[in-house]
């Protein structure tokens, strides 16, 4: 895995290209600590910080061939098959790296090459002959790519902190985007929480020729590959086993050893089984354990470890660990968080690094593609109830929604829960139906914002903004398919794969690989009947069925415990905020940045002097983490940690003729 950067400018003075692209690349060195390189052209530059995984000797970057220069972050797992196909067309290769396959494939197929790639990638490609810069991002947004236009030039980078080195540039919040990020846990479309920084959207190619807006081409959107339905559930179940196995097989292609994350849940356990079958040898597995038993899953982890016989390592997480690492985690995440869950993953990647592993298989996205989230259940319940709103029987299903949450199972509280959910019956037909509960709960964040910003929540505006990205088939999908689209466009891309994924693993130079995001599986599963995935309230039904008898029943049948870490209780001890909270949420800091309402923050913190941090709910937890991380992210943007690169690790120094500096 790697960090990539690029510059495209239009003035004749190009003397700043080399120092600027080098400084940008230095800010990304944690993503690729093994070596680095630059390409300097007449008005263009590319930078690359490399984590060597495939073709360690020859795969250096930036790489030039066929009039193209590439700086590429990621993996195209089917590069061997693509290479064979290209060789049949007479194309000759000089390395065995996947990077060269990407270049030659683009030269041969043009932008249609990207839809042939099975992988996770962010690409900056300079087309020397046509004098244009091509940017591309994988289908689901596993690898990041940001763009800013500053003083007449374009700048591109894997992480926004690379822009902090540009003279005069400083990241500041766009408050409306910040609020939308709060509502959805992600910004919409190509927005980021910052002014003047965009993200290249997943599944998209952008072409930059001049100072004007780029030409964008979408090569993938969820559901764009309609499928012939399977003959039966049993057939689909067999397909799932085979497709997952093949997804794992491709993701084990690596010239360095591959390890895996084992959470103790069904998703990673299934992958552990398949990894052990495909690899045929013992591998290293990694997990987090918690001092707080409410979050700990080590019983299940141990069971799976003894079942597959992996060499297991665990990172133990206490309240102090959360506090001590939070600032660094936010620095890497570069945006406000809503939970502390990224912290253990940041420490987990350090543990992996300490054990000399660079690549891990991990189980994200099973909940999206196989309907594992509560939002699918809630949506199903509400739609069923909405057909007969007066029914006294239909809402009884509420009792079965969340048996692990005490206040839901309590018979006395049933009436209250019914009342709560009843309020969502009226909005069940709006296009964001599955997100209504999350948005409604998160609206409270508006109260925390400085009133001077005049941020208002207008549901219709938000709906318009989100629906602008809907594919034309959206209206023909079932409500649960629509919900999958929304989950993947919001939580998966902007939170799970970034704040909790890419930024935490690459914080320690570890590459995560995601078999559940193999597009062949995602598309196939998308068109299976809903009931295969959510059967009654049985979540990920087909996955349980497909692997029953192959992994222990105790893992298959265990109650789902969403991956979480201690939030408020790590930061408020015995009614007192820890020093980090006192510092960043102090009246002075709140005033200094002007993002939040001083009085609100003081009242919020004061609440916990009287009540135990164990008695707080979702919203208090989210509010504290949001306030704290939003303040810290701004602090990090204002105080960039300048880094320099080791000249001994400079392995590529390419120059366009007449552009040497």
């Amino acid at each position: 895995m790697c960090g990539i950067s690029g510059i495209l400018r239009f003035d004749p003075d190009s003397s700043e290209l080399r120092p600027t692209v080098t400084a940008m690349t230095a800010m990304l060195a944690h993503r690729g600590p093994d070596e680095w390189g630059v390409y300097i052209g007449k008005n263009v530059a590319l930078g690359h910080a490399r984590l060597s995984i495939v073709d360690l000797k020859m795969g250096h970057q930036p790489m030039a061939a066929d009039g193209l220069v590439i700086s590429y972050n990621g993996e195209v797992y089917n590069y061997i098959e693509l290479r064979e196909e290209l060789e049949q067309h007479g194309i000759v290769f000089t390395t065995r790296s996947d990077t060269e396959v990407v270049i030659r494939a683009y030269r041969f197929w043009g932008k249609d090459a990207f839809s042939r790639f099975n992988g996770q990638f962010a690409i900056i490609l300079w087309d020397q002959n046509n004098r244009q810069m091509i940017l591309a991002r994988d289908r689901y947004g596993v690898r990041p790519l940001f763009v800013t236009r500053w003083r007449g030039a374009w700048y591109f980078a894997s992480e926004m902190k690379a822009f902090d080195v540009l003279p005069g540039f400083r990241r500041t919040y766009n408050i409306q985007h910040l609020f939308e990020h709060g509502l959805l846990w992600n910004t919409v479309g190509s927005d980021t929480v910052y002014n003047n920084i965009r993200t290249v959207q997943p599944g998209t190619v952008e072409t930059y020729r001049d100072g004007g807006p780029p030409a964008a081409y979408r090569f993938y959107s969820l559901g764009c590959m309609p499928q012939t339905p399977p003959a039966s559930f049993e057939e689909a179940r067999d397909e799932l086993r085979e497709m997952l196995r093949d997804a794992v097989r491709l993701r084990l292609r690596s010239d360095v050893p591959v390890g895996m994350y084992l959470s103790g849940g069904i998703d990673s356990s299934v992958l552990a089984l398949l990894t052990s079958q495909v690899m045929g040898e013992r591998f290293k597995s990694f997990s987090v354990t918690f001092g707080d038993s409410d979050f700990d899953e080590s019983v299940y982890q141990k069971e799976m470890v003894s079942f597959i016989g992996s060499e297991h390592h665990a990172a133990h997480i206490s309240y102090d660990t959360i506090c001590d690492n939070f600032l660094q985690v936010v620095r890497h995440a570069e945006r406000p968080l809503f939970r502390t869950a990224p912290v253990p993953l940041y420490l987990l990647s350090r543990l992996v690094r300490d054990n000399n592993i660079k690549v891990v298989i991990t189980g994200e996205a099973s909940d999206e593609i196989l309907f594992g989230y509560d939002s699918y259940k809630e949506l199903k319940l509400l739609r069923f109830w909405a057909k007969a709103p007066q029914s006294s029987v239909r809402p009884l299903l509420i009792k079965r929604l969340y048996p692990h949450l005490r206040h839901y199972a309590d018979a006395k509280a049933y009436g209250l829960m019914k009342l709560y959910y009843e309020d969502f019956l009226d909005t069940i037909t709006n296009p964001l139906a599955g997100l209504n509960i999350r948005i409604r709960n998160n609206t409270v964040l508006a109260a925390a914002l400085n009133k001077d910003h005049l941020v208002k929540y207008n549901q219709d505006d938000l709906i318009d903004k989100i629906t602008a990205s809907f594919p034309s088939d959206y209206d023909r999908w079932t409500p649960l398919q629509q919900n999958q689209f929304l989950e993947m466009a919001t939580l998966l891309d902007g939170y799970l794969l970034s704040s909790q994924g890419d930024r935490m693993s690459l914080g320690h130079g570890i590459e995560g690989r995601f078999p559940y995001l193999d597009y062949r599986l995602v598309e196939r599963a998308f068109y299976w009947p809903d009931s295969y995935k959510l059967n009654g309230f049985s979540q990920k039904h087909i996955l349980r069925s497909a692997f029953r008898g192959l992994i222990p029943n105790s893992i298959i049948d265990r109650p789902k415990l969403p991956y979480q870490a201690p939030d408020l209780r790590a930061f408020i001890r015995d009614g007192r905020p820890v020093p980090l909270v006192e510092e960043y949420l102090s009246p002075e800091r709140i005033r200094h940045y002007g993002v939040f309402d001083e009085r609100f923050v003081a009242r919020f913190l004061n609440r916990f002097t009287q009540r135990s941090a164990h008695q707080v709910g979702y919203r208090d937890n989210m509010m504290l983490i949001f306030l704290l991380s939003a303040q810290i992210a701004l602090h990090c943007a204002a105080n960039p940690q300048r880094k320099s690169l080791d000249e001994k690790l400079l392995l590529v120094d390419l120059n366009e003729p007449d552009a040497r500096h």
């Binding site: 709560y420 309020d423 609206t443 409270v444 609100f600």
Partner: protein, 83 residues
């Protein structure tokens, strides 16, 4: 017997303190859930507050939008129970 105004003031004060909103930030005629003031746990807290403060028992059958659908409706519900 408590006057409606007094009941409403107590409820509003509790809501403002517990859910950190200003009185002018929510509408007394609309659902607190709809307005993003409370979530499901908020409803549990409000009903517990009503039981404790006004000495009434809230039965499962009382939990309807008619009784809890807004602050005004809650006030009317408390008055009817006290009556």
């Amino acid at each position: 017997m408590l006057m409606e105004k007094e009941i409403q003031d107590k409820l509003v004060a509790f809501i403002c303190e517990s859910f950190m909103v200003e009185p002018d930030e929510f509408n007394l005629e609309e659902s607190l859930v709809d307005q993003g003031v409370i979530d499901s746990i908020g409803l549990v807290e409000i009903s517990a507050f009503i039981e404790e403060t006004f000495g009434i028992k809230v039965a499962e059958t009382d939990m309807t939008r008619h009784n809890f659908g807004s602050v005004k409706k809650m006030v009317a519900f408390i008055v009817s129970k006290n009556g």
